[in-house]
């Protein structure tokens, strides 16, 4: 196929970025929306757009969703352009920002927006911006993680800027409300919906772009993640099948964990399947299996070769992460890792892993050992986050029988008129991922 042979990911990504920046800086529309699949260079885009807007002399406010995201952006901006004065608007809580910001002289920090007026770029969370009042709005704003922002949060800050660039990943976890909001379902401005949904419902003419290349996901993962979670906005891997390699100095000892590691190193995916059993969330066997896989990944002297450098990089603890659905599962895995002498590997829930990147991830399947599937466990975004954090390989630990669990899931959801249906839904996406993993299965009885 000639189109495939001609596909140059770098050029495709550059074209998309140029078009986005052109619309942002010179377009006629008040808003520009950018969909960014996992690892497609969203942060790079945000930093670049911010710098170009600052260069053009347009006062810019940046809205992110969490303090960690805000601090991360400040650090990236400082790294790219150390001379640029940046305002970090923060809350009046204790420890409101990352201490690393104190080392940057060009970053002015304050809990009052008035202290930061005149700076080319001011960055804060949506929650903090919602308390700011201005006489004259900012000429420009960048709204980061716009798909994770609720419509009502955008309502509270949209009066602060004239025009904005909205960037986010539509495949990750949707925002939610802790009380019922059915009475507004179907309204274009449903306050519990995503900011982008409201924005586009009211401004359908806004230019929508997407970043077409995932630089994080390897060639083995991009098609699956794209098909299962982004069927209407497909993307590709920036690297080819031979570009990434994961090798281990120590050969397999033949155990389940070692075999699944080899499978994942070879094919990018590995399913370590434990015997079917109904378990509590913190299934001790599964938790131990996850910890053992991590321990063996480290013990076997992994080396990751990628396009980033010629020499293989050692697979160290900071390049591995464990993902779970629940906090207590994360806590149990952490404890198990401490028992195995591996305290420094990141273990977190899908919510907290959003936006992060590792070489290898080990995932405790959200449905493993459960007596039944629930809407929470079937949420598309949860599985999408867990299966799209890795550059090289992803090992999923799961008890057998999840496919039946999905088939037995009672489908009696209520339907609200006028709402946009998310399809494929989590049920469908889970089936797709499981079907793929089934071919990478290592059956193990610990």
């Amino acid at each position: 196929m000639t189109t495939q042979a001609a596909f140059d990911p770098g050029a495709a990504a550059a074209r998309a970025t140029d078009a986005i920046l052109a619309d942002t800086l010179h377009g006629a529309h008040r808003g520009v929306v950018v969909d960014s699949p996992p690892g497609a260079g969203k942060s790079t885009l945000v930093v670049r757009a911010a710098l170009e807007l600052a260069d053009a002399g347009r006062p810019l406010m940046v809205v992110a969703q969490t303090n960690a995201q805000v601090d991360d952006l400040v650090l990236r901006l400082a790294e790219k352009k150390p001379g640029l004065p940046v305002g970090r608007l923060h809350s009046s809580d204790t420890d409101p920002y990352d201490k690393a910001l104190d080392d940057l002289p060009q970053v002015r920090k304050s809990a009052k927006a008035a202290d930061l007026t005149g700076l080319p770029v001011v960055i804060s969370t949506a929650a903090k911006w919602a308390h700011v009042k201005v006489d004259e709005p900012w000429r420009h704003a960048i709204v980061d993680e716009a798909y994770q922002m609720r419509s009502d949060a955008l309502l509270a800050v949209a009066g602060l800027f004239e025009r904005a660039l909205f960037v986010g990943d539509p495949g990750q976890l949707d925002p939610f409300a802790i009380v019922g909001s059915e009475q507004w379902a179907g309204l274009t401005y449903d306050p519990s919906g995503s900011a982008v949904t409201t924005l586009l419902a009211h401004n359908p003419e806004l230019p929508q772009h997407r970043l077409p290349v995932s630089w994080r996901l390897p060639a083995s993962a991009a098609p699956l993640v794209s098909d299962a979670f982004y069927p209407y906005t497909p993307f590709r891997s920036g690297t080819g099948h031979g570009d990434r390699r994961l090798a281990f100095a120590v050969p397999s000892d033949g155990s389940g964990p070692d075999r699944v590691i080899d499978e994942a190193a070879e094919s990018g995916w590995g399913l370590l399947e434990l015997p079917a059993r109904r378990t509590p969330r913190t299934d001790p066997e599964a938790v131990r299996a996850v910890a053992t896989v991590v321990r063996r990944l480290l013990d076997r002297g992994g080396a990751a070769t990628s396009e980033r450098s010629d020499a293989p990089a050692p697979l160290t603890a900071d390049r591995i992460a464990v993902g779970t659905a629940h906090r207590d599962q994360a806590a149990a895995v952490r404890a198990a890792l401490v028992d195995l002498g591996v305290p420094e590997v990141t273990v977190d829930t899908a919510n907290r892993l959003q936006g992060r990147e590792y070489d290898v991830t080990v995932v405790l399947h959200p449905l493993s050992g459960r007596p039944d599937a629930t809407a929470f466990h079937l949420e598309t975004g949860r599985l999408c986050v867990l299966t799209s954090r890795h550059r090289h390989a992803c090992v999923v630990v799961c008890r057998a029988g999840v496919s039946n669990l999905l088939d037995d899931y009672p489908s009696t959801e209520p339907v609200q008129l006028g709402t946009v249906v998310k399809f494929p839904d989590g049920w469908e996406a889970n089936h797709a991922v499981l079907a793929h993993l089934a071919e990478r299965r290592v059956v193990w009885r610990p």
């Binding site: 009502d152 949060a153 309204l187 207590d328």
Partner: protein
Amino acid sequence: MSLISTLARLEAVATGHAQPAATVRHRHLSDRPLVFVPLTTAGEAGAPLGALLGTDRDAPRLLVVPQPRDRDLRFAFLAELADVVLPYVDGYAEAVEAAERTETDPETGKRVKVEAELCADAPQLIVPSRAGIDFVRLLGRSMRFRRTAEQDPETPYPAPPRVPLLGRWLTHVGERARVPGSALLLAMTDVLARHWATGQSSLEDQHLGALLAWIAPPDDEPGTEAALRAELARDAQGQLLCPPAGPATDPAFDNRLLAPAIERYDRARTAFAAAEDGLEADDRLGALTAAEREIRDLVLSRTLPTWQKVWQGLDLLRALPAGAHIEERWTRDRWSFTGHRDRITAGEPPQPRRDDAVTAAGKLAAREREQARLEAQEALDDPLVMAGRRLSGEAFAGEVTDVVMAYSESRRPSPRPLITVRTGDRPHLAERVRVYRSLSGKPQAAEFVERAGDDLIVLRIVDKMGRGKTPEEGSVPDKGDPVCFTLFEHEQRGGAKLPDPEQTPWTHGGPPGEAVLPEADPMTAEDLL
């Protein structure tokens, strides 16, 4: 469902009796609630069939629509309903107390305290079940846009004078019922299920008869059997012994009793209308009255058992001691009532069909705040609720084993005492996580420092110790004191400042435009309500 409530349900199964799900009452109950037991006609979107209502358990008022498809009869029903409900509501509008309210000063934009009136008490409507709440909303929606002859002399079918006003009040309490912890409109099944765990599922708990069968079974019968009877037992004519709490009726009732009775009524009415002389009319009026009486009796027979059960439920709930925070939440209900009273007095139009973007966002934010407040307050008021939070790692209780005085590193050092708590709980603590305990009703904050052992937690107390160098008396726990800290905050912060509706930004469609009086629903020959 948390394990603690699961256990309570399983214990209920094992003992045959409902088990406590709360040790105190978590909802305000009025001394004089208005109980409302409505029935609707099947298939006819909210067309009322009748209702039993009132504030006196021994003297309910029965309202009946003998032919639900007849507009005049429906209007007569709604007018009567207004005659009962509105005087009850108005009865709370007069007595006020002086209070303060925070408002935004239009000139300076600052938040300032202003003197305000607050109604000393508020009305409380109680319906049997959640479906009853939906029905109240539906009634409100159907009435509030109606036009009376006075409002619009041209209207072809003028509504009785007070009907639109009743619609606005029902809409208001229906909307308020969506606020967590509010009590202007309550469903008896919801309130009972909040306080008792039965040996059946929460789905089955929505049947008022079955729910009460578990909580207070007649003659100490096992709950399972009593509930089963309440759900399914029928008499010789195939009618349920415990009629559903409504507003929907049992199809067997509709088909075997109600439909023939309505048919007889229709016939009697036609005959009456066709009467040719006074004597005949007199005769036929008697027949018509008898036919109407029959329908009234039928409606009474289906609503009276539910009426009695609602009052029985009230008795059970009143026997529980009141939670410490319910008065505070009721005060918010009183503000809500006062606010709506003022809007009506000021001549504002009825609530629109749909909220605008700013109103919707404001309501959602307020409800999320109330939800968090309710969860915190219920835990502080009720050790059984707190037990659930402790189990889920959101709180811990224990005994202080050590207190070490320490000070902050500032120019004027303030006390920052370190306390060690021994606890069997497993809270989700991480570095510098804040925890709170209730100190004479106010939250005192502390920071997590470290775990000093398997069951020892070291905290640094950071506030509520006064301005001096030594902490105020009683502001730091002593060795041996029992303490309970929560990871959740006890009080809720104010939410984001939303724009005025006329400042709605372009992202949300811009300003909604001039508020216009919503059009009344068009009347057609076959409209239903």
